[in-house]
């Protein structure tokens, strides 16, 4: 299994010869097999952070180490699920998954790849839809396929950028349960970006809170609830409410400290 170490990571974007600092001195560690959520307001640099982990953007300063080695570009040791367009629209669900498998398991024959793809589509409950194109699937189904692909690629690390952000509440709940169940099976190292506090609490071992302009780590908190977690029971407990409120108040304090007491909704 893999560890991720982010040390004093700074990322600048250059636009029209002007520097914009999206991330400033971000440091935290993700242990092997740990599920870490990153939460923060829109625009605070969560996607930027993930893009560096993915290898799409290089650090301007500082470093990202995976198992002690600096990340150089994209790699097949990391599976990724985006909010949109993780899948290729011109491939069927099955071929999308098989495409991912081909990238990591080059020795498999085409038939073996297809078989593996089918078994993962089965895990996410899409056997009936395997020959559909993404445009023929609902948003939730598309994300199931993307998850199936990321898992089928059998990478040690899973990076997810608001994967359920565009999904309606009912389907989002189902997807969270599915992800939790599949993660319990495989115990991959996960970095999960979200702006949904309940989602972060339900899924993660630890929550990294970020603040904006420039994006920095504001606080890290361990989630004190034992696994396996039952959503319905969990949210009814006093501990849950207290914990959830403490996270909200951290954000609230930070925001009021910055912009002077105006009401802000997370």
């Amino acid at each position: 299994m893999s560890t991720i170490e982010i040390n004093n990571l700074t990322v600048d974007y250059v636009e029209k010869n002007k520097n914009f600092t999206a991330l400033k001195d971000v440091s935290f560690k993700v242990n092997s097999g740990e599920f870490v959520s990153v939460i923060g307001f829109s625009g605070c640099g969560k996607s930027t952070l993930l893009s560096v982990l993915e290898g799409i953007n290089p650090p301007t300063d500082g470093s990202v180490l995976i198992d002690g080695k600096p990340v150089v570009g994209t790699g097949t040791d990391r599976g990724v699920v985006f909010q949109h367009y993780s899948l290729f629209p011109w491939l069927t669900a099955r071929k999308n998954v098989a495409f991912g498998i081909k990238q990591t398991q080059k020795t498999l024959s085409k038939a073996e790849r297809m078989e593996l793809a089918d078994s993962f589509l089965d895990k996410v409950g899409l056997t009936k839809f395997k020959n559909k194109y993404p445009s023929q699937l609902s948003g939730g189904m598309q994300q199931r396929v993307a998850i199936a692909r990321a898992l089928a690629m059998d990478t040690e690390i899973l990076l997810m950028d608001e994967p359920f952000g565009a999904i309606d509440a009912v389907n989002r709940t189902a997807l969270q349960e599915l992800l939790l169940e599949l993660w319990e099976e495989s115990r991959k190292t996960v970095v999960f970006v979200t702006h949904d506090i309940d989602e972060a609490i339900l899924l993660s071992d630890r929550i990294v809170m970020m603040t904006a302009s420039p994006g920095r780590v504001y606080k890290e908190i361990n989630v004190p609830f034992s696994r396996p977690r039952n959503r319905v029971q969990l949210v009814q407990t006093q501990e849950y409410t207290t914990f959830r409120n403490s996270i909200i108040s951290y954000f609230y304090n930070d925001i009021t400290g910055r912009i002077g007491g105006e009401e802000v909704v997370l």
Binding site: E54, G55, L87, P89, G100, Q103, Y133, S135
Partner: protein, 306 residues
């Protein structure tokens, strides 16, 4: 669909009118070829009935019967104007029966000429596709070259390809090779710029998805960028094909001794307007058939879009 919707259509009514019109007295005592129009309309009507019987979607049936209705209406007007009255000059606009008859008599000659034209188009066009699509993918993807190439192809694309003909004639040995060369150049710019603009418009998120899957350069170009920009590539290919047709028939009218352009020009020079019209109609039909097939191909390749 009800039987009424299937069979009680304007097209069937026009069919009866068309047949009836053939039996009106001719304006001039001359051999009457109306029987050829009758035969044609019988075949067309058989097709209409067949389609009415088997088609499942009303939309498809509507399209087909509208097209045939248009043909019938045209033939009715043409018969009246040319055979049954003196509205049109009979030398310039021979009656439809004469044209059908000539078409049947000349069929083997016509097929040879179509073959000759198509062979040139296919060679020049395919050559352009095979070179242009990979080049466009490459240029579009490498941002720096792409910027320069956009302007260069705008400049070169604005030159009407017909002006290359003198150079083609000076440089190349046969009319055939000149034509292939000109078709190649004519399809060159639409296909190249269609491909490049397709590549430039590929959603960055699709490229990022491919990058995180760690695809190699070759896969990136041909398994990701190519399918992602296919709609616009098709637009370019479609334009290229139309330009190719216009250009080839024009070129054939200038210097060829075969091909559909030559057929039209040759007989109009001799004042044989029956054959001239046959030639015009055949060119139109060939273009329609090819664009129909092209459309089918496009639909097949872009079937993933809803």
């Amino acid at each position: 669909m009800t039987a009424k919707k299937r069979f009680l259509r304007a097209v069937n009514f026009l069919f009866i009118v068309l047949i009836a019109v053939q039996f009106l007295p001719n304006s001039e005592l001359k051999e009457d070829n109306g029987i050829y129009v009758i035969w044609f309309s019988l075949i067309a009507e058989a097709a209409v009935i067949l389609v009415s019987l088997i088609s499942k979607k009303e939309q498809g049936l509507n399209l087909f019967s509208d097209i045939i209705s248009f043909l019938y209406a045209l033939l009715i007007l043409w018969t009246i104007a040319s055979a049954k009255s003196d509205i049109l000059d009979k030398a310039l606009f021979p009656p439809p029966g004469d044209v059908f008859r000539q078409f049947i008599e000349d069929i083997s000659k016509i097929l040879l000429n179509i073959g000759s034209s198509l062979a040139i188009i296919v060679q020049g066009y395919l050559l352009a596709l095979v070179i242009e699509i990979p080049l466009g993918l490459f240029l579009g993807y490498s941002v720096r070259l792409g910027n320069a190439a956009t302007y260069i192809s705008k400049f070169l694309g604005s030159i009407p390809p017909i002006v290359y003909i003198p150079y083609g004639i000076a440089l190349l040995p046969t009319f055939r090779s000149v034509s292939v060369f000109v078709i190649f150049l004519a399809s060159f710019w639409p296909v190249l710029s269609g491909t490049m603009s397709g590549v430039l418009n590929v959603d960055k998120r699709v490229i990022d998805s491919a990058r995180v899957l760690n695809v190699g350069k070759f896969s990136m170009l041909f398994s990701v960028i190519l399918p992602a920009s296919l709609s616009e590539i098709f637009v370019g290919c479609n334009q290229g094909l139309s330009v190719s047709f216009i250009l080839l028939t024009s070129a054939e009218m200038i210097g060829a001794n075969s091909g559909m352009g030559y057929y039209v020009k040759n007989y109009s020079d001799f004042g044989d307007y029956t054959r001239t019209i046959v030639g015009l109609l055949v060119i139109g039909i060939v273009v329609v058939i090819i664009s129909f097939l092209f459309n089918k191909l496009q639909r097949f390749f872009l079937r993933y879009k809803r």
